[in-house]
């Protein structure tokens, strides 16, 4: 019996040792991951005035999925050196929980596609003062309309897709438009003289019911808000024409749409007033829209006086 107990103790010790060994093996085999933000991608365009490049990049684990987006570059000389088509490697440096980010340590790894990329980005963006393209769109209720239908109203247009997971892209744009919508509703005169249009990059997925559901989330579930803010899509070929007209780049890959950003202000006369593509604030957009609404009212009054005279 005693022998048995002693033997059992030995076995127990063996079991504990096995358990510790297994525990160590378990711990060492299933842990360990370092966070890094290396970027690899293709330069699509550059803007030396704002020190930015637009890069179509691969997944950046821990930061964001594969995407096309503009990045500030710390060293202005690097922007001068880079050309569309260059394949680069760089470090994404982030601050403020990822809401501020820029590129450092940019290295060109392949220059062979420079020339062809230059040709590919040669899209003519409409100039300020040109007429807004009158391309047919379909809104969240399935109703057809054109951007030219809003004569007499100042128009603020932007592009999103409802499945966009990047908080600094589409959700931010829609959040800003929702704030502008809410602010304008407090001044009925300007509310009546303005309109918002959000156009989807993803007509295949963003059907009218999807856009309606998306829009209602930004309109606090009040469908009346659609009378001042349309969520629209169009067929792929018209979408391409519209995007080219506003200088937007986008393409679909793995059910995700990589795109650049653009907000366009249209005057009550249907002419392009201003583009915002890289930096803006909600207040800046709202002030510009209100300014156009007021200018439109003044012009309207002058014309009425002329007719009366």
């Amino acid at each position: 019996m005693l022998r048995c107990t002693a033997r059992n103790r030995l076995i127990s010790r063996g079991t504990i040792a096995s358990a510790i060994l297994i525990g160590i093996l378990f711990a060492t085999s299933c842990t360990g991951r370092a966070k890094k933000y290396p970027l690899r991608g293709n330069v699509l365009s550059k803007n030396p005035a704002t020190n930015e490049i637009t890069v179509k990049h691969e997944d950046i684990p821990g930061f964001m999925p594969a995407m096309t987006m503009p990045y500030k570059v710390k060293d202005p000389a690097v922007v001068q050196e880079l050309q569309p088509g260059d394949v680069i490697a760089a470090e994404v440096v982030t601050a403020n929980n990822g809401s501020d980010y820029w590129l450092e340590d940019v290295r060109i790894t392949d220059q062979s596609a420079r020339q062809s990329a230059k040709a590919a980005v040669a899209v003519h963006r409409l100039d300020v003062g040109e007429q807004v393209p009158n391309i047919p769109l379909t809104n969240q209720d399935g109703k057809s309309f054109r951007l030219g239908d809003f004569r007499g109203k100042a128009l603020l247009i932007t592009f999103i897709y409802t499945r966009c997971p990047m908080p600094t892209f589409c959700p931010r744009l829609s959040g800003q438009f929702a704030k502008i919508q809410g602010d304008l509703s407090k001044t009925p005169d300007e509310f009546a003289k303005t309109h918002l249009v959000t156009i989807s990059f993803d007509p295949k997925y963003d059907t009218p019911p999807v856009l309606r559901k998306y829009g209602l989330a930004y309109l606090d579930d009040k469908p009346a808000g659609f009378s001042h803010w349309d969520f629209a899509s169009t067929n792929p070929s018209d979408l391409r024409k519209l995007a080219d007209a506003f200088g937007l780049e986008y393409f679909e890959e793995d059910n995700q749409i990589s795109h650049t950003m653009d907000i366009v202000l249209i005057s009550p006369e249907g002419k392009i007033v201003k583009y915002w593509a890289t930096e803006w604030t909600t207040a800046e957009l709202e002030d510009a829209l209100r300014g156009q609404a007021k200018a439109g009212k003044t012009n309207e009054r002058r014309q009425t006086q002329k007719r009366a005279g």
């Binding site: 378990f26 684990p61 930061f63 929980n97 809401s99 959700p171």
Partner: protein
């Protein structure tokens, strides 16, 4: 008795090895889920982007409560539905995540207690 003890020891070792394999597998799933979370979810749920209509909730204790922040029951099926279909201003991840991705993501969210 010795035979019983030996077989008991063997049994414990086999069970522990099995637990290790299952545990390691679920841990690896959660680890893959964390990578997916960092890539697709963390920017909204762990950051503080200005100008959003509503700041997305942190998901630290998602499964610790009986209900999700939306008020729906805290079940795998409900979390899966929210990820796939989106909810309010949260975008749908429909067709962008595989079934295995969704399982891994949920396995990771379950570790956030």
């Amino acid at each position: 008795m010795i035979r019983l003890a030996q077989s008991g020891c063997l049994g414990v070792t086999v069970i522990m090895l099995a637990l290790m394999l299952v545990g390691c597998s679920s841990n690896e799933s959660a680890q893959r889920g964390q990578e997916l979370f960092d890539l697709h979810c963390a920017l909204c749920h762990e950051g503080s982007t200005p100008d959003l209509k509503k700041q997305p909730p942190r998901l630290d204790h998602l499964f610790a409560a009986k209900q999700l922040p939306s008020g729906a029951p805290a079940t795998d099926a409900q979390v899966r539905k929210t990820i796939v279909e989106g909810l309010r201003t949260m975008p749908a991840f429909d067709k962008r995540l595989s079934e295995q991705d969704l399982k891994d993501l949920i396995a990771y969210l379950r570790t956030l207690r």
